[in-house]
């Protein structure tokens, strides 16, 4: 059997999506509660790593995932930089927040201007980046050896 034992596989199947959902929750509520892009991104990466450890993967799939995650990582970085440059072009200030995007009312989900967007960018970068690190370290190869 590829991957880990049945117990791990079934529980992973139940929980991986919920872990991803919780990561998304943390990322999107980064401007309202503790946590944010980095913490949520780590959770997202944890979900991806959990699935790839539990079910194992063939070399080809891993390669494809690696390329995909590196693309996602770069686009997260570009998105973050784009937010900074948007402020720069609109109001002369890097990372300018006031007056550029909809600020909203405090403690609502859509509020805080560019901060939620920046959190999403960071979450994308961290999640994809950590998963890419995992794949590059080849940790799943050790599980598959038997």
């Amino acid at each position: 059997m590829r991957g880990m034992s049945l117990i791990v596989q079934v529980m992973t199947g139940l929980l991986a999506g919920i872990l991803l959902l919780y990561g998304g929750y943390i990322i999107l509520h980064g401007h309202l509660t503790p946590g944010g892009g980095f913490a949520g991104g780590v959770l997202v990466a944890a979900a991806l790593i959990l699935v790839s450890l539990a079910f194992g993967a063939v070399e080809q799939v891993e390669r494809r995932e690696y390329i995909l995650s590196s693309i996602f990582e770069s686009s997260g970085g570009l998105l973050f930089l784009g937010l900074a440059v948007a402020g720069y072009l609109a109001a002369d200030y890097f990372f300018r927040n006031a007056g550029l995007f909809y600020i909203g009312r405090p403690l609502e989900l859509v509020s805080g201007g560019i901060i939620p967007l920046a959190n999403i960018a960071i979450g994308l970068k961290v999640g994809a980046g950590l998963f890419a690190i995992f794949l590059a370290l080849g940790a799943s190869r050790f599980v598959m050896k038997e």
């Binding site: 509660t33 503790p34 980095f38 009312r105 405090p106 403690l107 690190i133 590059a136 370290l137 080849g138």
Partner: protein, 117 residues
């Protein structure tokens, strides 16, 4: 005072591990100890006795600009950044250690001596 001294102690333990241990993985662990010590110290810097976590929970606080008795949030933000840096260095260090293991089939640093001087 004691928490600060504990941080320094943790730092010294980490330094001892980095200097004296022969195993690559143990060196990485020692380095993580150093990093935790510094991060903990930095987080302690912002601590105020009896103060609250710097989180706004009620909309009124924003509107009225109420300055509650918060701990200093800046060190926490900085420590978060430092943790991210530490994460990437640890990952890079571990990957280098794994590469060394693949090349030399050992984690013992005294057997990894291609370079002298």
């Amino acid at each position: 005072m004691i928490p600060y001294l504990a941080c320094v102690l943790l730092f010294l333990i980490g330094l001892y591990v980095v200097i004296s241990k022969r195993n690559l993985i143990k060196i990485v662990i020692g380095f993580s100890l150093i990093e935790y010590a510094v991060n903990l110290f930095f987080a302690l810097v912002g601590f105020k006795k009896g103060a609250l976590a710097p989180i706004i929970t009620q909309p009124e606080q924003v509107r009225m600009g109420v300055a509650r008795n918060f701990v200093d949030p800046v060190p926490q933000a900085l420590v978060l950044t430092a943790i991210v840096i530490g994460l990437s260095t640890t990952a890079l260090m571990l990957s280098l250690a794994m590469r060394l293991y693949e090349k030399y089939k050992t984690f013992d640093i005294s057997e990894i001596r291609r370079l002298k001087g």
